[in-house]
């Protein structure tokens, strides 16, 4: 990174948005507000994808996560009422220990990332990604990754049928 100062600045803004809204997602009491912050966080991740020259992924992120998954969450929240009332305890009793463990986990990952990037394994000159990202992705999906592509479509079909079977009324 640090190609241009603008990229740097955009990264820090996006990182702040992602981290802060991520913390909001896991800590707010009102689950509906959590869903709103989840949308903000996922949009920030889409911005990070743009910074990383993955425009197609950014578009897919906005379409699928922000457009579909987050809205699905909002629907689930609305269909299962009385979730956002004040008296409901949103976290279990292990919150302190879990916070400690996750902080230790994050710090450990930080050191691992530092050590491995310093060791210079990945310091080879980065070749530029092809400019027409989307075309290359499409070609790869249709040639080399043909089988996973088909399998994942079967997975989606199974998920759709499974969701319908699970959610329909008994005997309907």
């Amino acid at each position: 990174m640090a190609d241009q100062p603008g990229v740097d600045f955009a990264f820090w803004v996006l990182a702040t948005v992602i981290i802060v809204s991520g913390i909001m997602v896991v800590s707010l009491r009102n689950i509906f507000h959590c869903a709103m912050f989840l949308i903000l966080c996922l949009s920030g991740v889409a911005g990070i994808f743009i910074l990383l020259n993955a425009e197609f992924l950014a578009a897919a992120q906005v379409l699928i996560y922000v457009g579909a998954v987050a809205i699905l969450m909002v629907f689930a929240i609305m269909l299962t009422s009385n979730l956002s009332s004040k008296r409901i305890v949103m976290t279990n009793q292990k919150a302190g220990a879990a916070g400690l463990a996750c902080t230790v986990f994050a710090v450990g990952l930080y050191f691992i990332v530092n050590i491995t990037t310093r060791s210079g394994i990945w310091d080879k000159a980065t070749e530029e990604l092809p400019a027409d990202n989307i075309m290359v992705i499409g070609k790869l999906l249709m040639t080399r990754f043909m089988l996973p592509f088909e399998v994942v479509s079967v997975v989606l079909l199974a998920a759709m049928i499974g969701a319908i079977v699970l959610a329909r009324k008994e005997g309907a």
């Binding site: 992602i18 689950i31 897919a60 996560y65 269909l79 879990a98 996750c102 902080t103 994050a106 999906l141």
Partner: protein, 99 residues
């Protein structure tokens, strides 16, 4: 590069915290989405900064997005089912599923 990796690590830790501490099942699913996104950031970062022949990392991220969408669908269907049976979606309600 390491900035992106550290961002992903922090996001993953936040998601892990959410999965551990939430009592609300929808909250757990949302935290799971955070963890999926952290993994996606890692894939795209490595695809961008480690010399590779093609866009394999981005393809992988696409498959992760698809699987996450399927997981969210099934998870929310199960949530609806549990809510219909127990009038609440706290994780204690799932204890009957224990073996």
């Amino acid at each position: 590069m390491q900035h992106y990796l550290i961002l992903a690590a922090v996001l993953f830790a936040i998601g892990l915290f959410g999965v551990i501490t939430r009592r609300n099942t929808v909250g757990i699913l949302m935290s799971l989405e955070l963890m999926f996104n952290a993994a996606n950031i890692n894939f795209v970062t490595f695809n961008r900064y480690v010399p590779s022949e093609s866009l394999t990392g981005q393809i992988f991220a696409i498959f992760i997005i698809v699987v996450a969408a399927a997981e969210a669908t099934i998870g929310l269907a199960i949530v609806l089912l549990v809510y219909r049976n127990w009038r609440g979606i706290e994780t204690e309600n799932y204890s009957i599923m224990k073996w």
